[in-house]
C-alpha cells in the first residue's frame, strides 16, 4: 500500500496504483505522522458504523420475518461511506446517494425512524424533510450522477457555498450516465466529490467483468480531474482524501473522484445468494480487513475509547434501532388514494 504525502493525488497517480492506506488491518498506523481525524470525530464515526451494523442486522431479520421488503446491507463498506461523509457539512453541502449509504443519509439529517419508514413502505413519513439537502435513494444505477453534477453546477452558477457529495458503485461506472456525468463535471469544473464504492461486485458480476482497467479512479484523468484510490476499509485514509477533495471543491478547483476499495461482506440484497458466485475463502479473507474491527482496534489501542465502552455503544445503537422501529411502525401506511397524489402540482 502506498503511503500518503500532502500531494496524495499526484503521488498516487505516479505510484504503484495501490490504494492509499493509513491504518493497518490490525489498527496500527502505517506511519506515525499521518493525519488523523480528531478523537471526537473518531468516536462519532465508530458509533455511526456500529449503528449501521445494527440496522443491517435488524432489517435483515425483519425481511426474514416477512415484515420488510428488500434490504441492501452496508456491511463491509462502513468506513468508505462514513469516512467520506464526515468530510462534508450537512448544513451547506448536498448528499446524492446511490442506495446503500445508510449511515451517510442518517448523518445528513434523515432521521432513523424516517429511514425505517421508507423500508416499511410508509412513503409519506419517509419524505425527506425540506431542510435536508439530500436526494432519495436511486434505483436506476448511475442515474443520480448527472443530477449530482446539475446540483453542483447550480451551486456554482448561483454563487452559493456548498459541495455535492455523490456516491455510486463499481457496477455503475459501466453505465453511460457515469461517463456523461463525469465528463460534464470536468468540463464545467463543478464542486463535486464522487465516491465510487468499489465493493468488488455488482450483484454477481465481479469488477473484472466491468472493466479491464485495474483502477476505476484512473478514469478521472480522462475527464481532466484528479482521481485517487483509497483503502475503503480504512476510515482515516478515506476521511483524509475526502477532506482534501471537499477542500478543493470549496476552493473552486473542481471535481475529484475517490475510489474506495472495499468488499461487500454480505449479500447484494436480501433476495440474493452469494454462495452461487463467490468462494467462501474470499469472503473470509476480506473479513480480515473489516473496517469496524480495524477502527475499534485503533480506537481502543490509542485510548480514544475504553475497550469496555464498545459494548455499551453496541447496546445503545441496538436500542436506538428498536425505538426508531417502533416509531416507524406507528406511522400510517399509505392508502390507495396516495397513488394519485404528487403526480403533478395540485
Amino acid at each position: 500500500m502506498t503511503h500518503v504525502t500532502p500531494d496524495w493525488a499526484a503521488e498516487w497517480a505516479a505510484g504503484s496504483g495501490e490504494p492509499l492506506r493509513f491504518l493497518e488491518p490490525d489498527g496500527g498506523l502505517v506511519r506515525p505522522d499521518l493525519p488523523r481525524p480528531p478523537d471526537d470525530l473518531v468516536r462519532e464515526a465508530l458509533r455511526l458504523m456500529l449503528l449501521s451494523r445494527a440496522l443491517d442486522e435488524k432489517c435483515t431479520n425483519l425481511h426474514r420475518q416477512g415484515r420488510l421488503g428488500l434490504y441492501a446491507p452496508v456491511h463491509g463498506q462502513e468506513a468508505a461511506v462514513v469516512g467520506s461523509h464526515l468530510a462534508i457539512d450537512p448544513a451547506v453541502d448536498w448528499l446524492v446517494p446511490a442506495s446503500r449509504e445508510q449511515p451517510a443519509m442518517l448523518r445528513h439529517g434523515w432521521a432513523l425512524d424516517r429511514m425505517l419508514a421508507s423500508f416499511l413502505g410508509r412513503i409519506d413519513a419517509a419524505r425527506i424533510p425540506d431542510h435536508v439537502r439530500m436526494l432519495p435513494r436511486q434505483q436506476s444505477i448511475a442515474a443520480q450522477l448527472p443530477h449530482a453534477v446539475g446540483i453542483a453546477w447550480a451551486t456554482s452558477i448561483r454563487g452559493l457555498d456548498g459541495v455535492t457529495l455523490a456516491y455510486c458503485g463499481d457496477g455503475a461506472t459501466s453505465e453511460g450516465d457515469f461517463h456523461e456525468a463525469c465528463n460534464l463535471a470536468g468540463v464545467m469544473g463543478v464542486p463535486l466529490v464522487l465516491v465510487v464504492i468499489n465493493n468488488q461486485y455488482a450483484i454477481s458480476t465481479p469488477v473484472s467483468r466491468q472493466t479491464r482497467a485495474t483502477r476505476l479512479a484512473d478514469r478521472a484523468r480522462g475527464y481532466g480531474f484528479p482521481g485517487v484510490a483509497v483503502d475503503g476499509d480504512d476510515l482515516f485514509a478515506v476521511y483524509e482524501v475526502a477532506r482534501q477533495a471537499v477542500e478543493r471543491a470549496r476552493a473552486g478547483q473542481g471535481p475529484t473522484m475517490i475510489e474506495a476499495v472495499t468488499y461487500r461482506m454480505s449479500f447484494h440484497n436480501t433476495s440474493d445468494n452469494p454462495s452461487l458466485y463467490r468462494d467462501p475463502s474470499e469472503v473470509a479473507e476480506a473479513g480480515q480487513r473489516d473496517p469496524v474491527a480495524r477502527l475499534v482496534a485503533y480506537a481502543t489501542g490509542a485510548g480514544v475509547i475504553r475497550p469496555d465502552a464498545i459494548e455499551v455503544v453496541e447496546a445503545e445503537v441496538r436500542a436506538e434501532v428498536e425505538a426508531a422501529l417502533d416509531q416507524a411502525l406507528s406511522y400510517p401506511a399509505p392508502g390507495p388514494e396516495e397513488i394519485f397524489r404528487h403526480v403533478f402540482a395540485d
Binding site: 436506476s140 446539475g150 452558477i157 456523461e180 465528463n183 403533478f344 402540482a345
Partner: protein
Amino acid sequence: MSAQKDVTLLEAVRVALSDAMEDSDRVVLLGQDVGRRGGVFRATEGLSARFPGRVLDTPLAEGAIVGSSIGLAIGGLVPVAEIQFLGFLHQAFHQVTQQLARYRFRTRGRFHLPVTIRAPYGGGLRMPEFHPDSLESQLANVPGLKVVTPAFADDAYSLLRAAIRDPDPVLFLEPQRLYRSVRGRVPSDGATDGDFGARMRRHGDDLLLVSWGPSVHTCLAAADELEERHAVRSAVLDLRWLSPLDHARLHQEAAVRRRVAVVHEGVRSAGLGAEVVASLQESLCDTISLPILRVTAPDTPYPPGRLEDAFLPSQENIVEAALHVMDRP
C-alpha cells in the same frame, strides 16, 4: 393585450425565452450549440450576449443535458434545455421517463422539477434520418410529463411561457417546418392568456378534424378543399396539449358533429390518434355511434427525404378520409 410584434414561429420562441429570462434570473438555457451559435435553428440567437452566464453550451450528451437539468432545478434554477432534434431524445430517454417525470411522485413532493425541454420535430424539410421523427406518443405515454406543441407563432410564445412557468416538467415540441413559414403576433409586454386546452382553428358543422403541430396546417388546407369541392364544412381542432389531453373539449366538439378524423405525422400503431379515438369511444359509446378514422404516417421507419411526401399524411389523404366518414350513415 397591448402592442404586438409580428414574428415567425421561430422568433416567437426566441422572444418567449428572452422574456422569461428577463422576468426571472433563475431561468437558464442549456444545450448543444445554444450559446454563441444560437442553436442550429438560431432559436437562442443573441441570448448568450444578452444574458451572460445563463446560456450554457453543453458537451454532446443528451442524457447529461436532461440529467443535469434535473440537478439544476433541484439546485434552485429553472432550466430550459434544448435537445437539438427530438429524434435524439432517446439518448436521454431514461432520464426523461424514469427521473424527470417521477421526481415529484417519488419524493412525495419534496422535490419538483420546473424543467422545460424544447425540441424541434416533424417532417417536410428533407432532413437526414432521426431529425424529422415525431415521437410525441412515446412521451404522452409517460405519467408525470406534460407535452405541448404549438402550430402558430402566438401559441409558440404563450405556450412556451406557460411551459417555463409550470412547476412540473414540460416537453415543448417545436414543428420545425413551421419555424419560418408561419407568422403571428406576440405581445410586446409579455402578457399571455389562454394557455391551456385545445383551440378551434376553423369552424364547420359537418365534420371534426383533430390534429396538432405541423399537420394542423395540412388539415386547414384539406378543410378548404372539402368546402370548395365537396361542400363539406369541416372544423379543425388543434389539441396543443398532448398530455394531459383536453378530453372535455374533444368530446364536446365531436358530439355536435358526429364525424371525426384525427391526423398526425407520427406512425400509426399505438400513435396518439389511437388515444383520441379511444377517448371519444369511451365517452360517447352510450349515446352516439361515431364514424372516425385516422390519417397517419404508416408503420415504417421514417424514410429518406425524397420519399417523405409518400410517408407524411397529405391533404389528399385527409380529404379522402373525410369523405369516407361523411359517407357513413
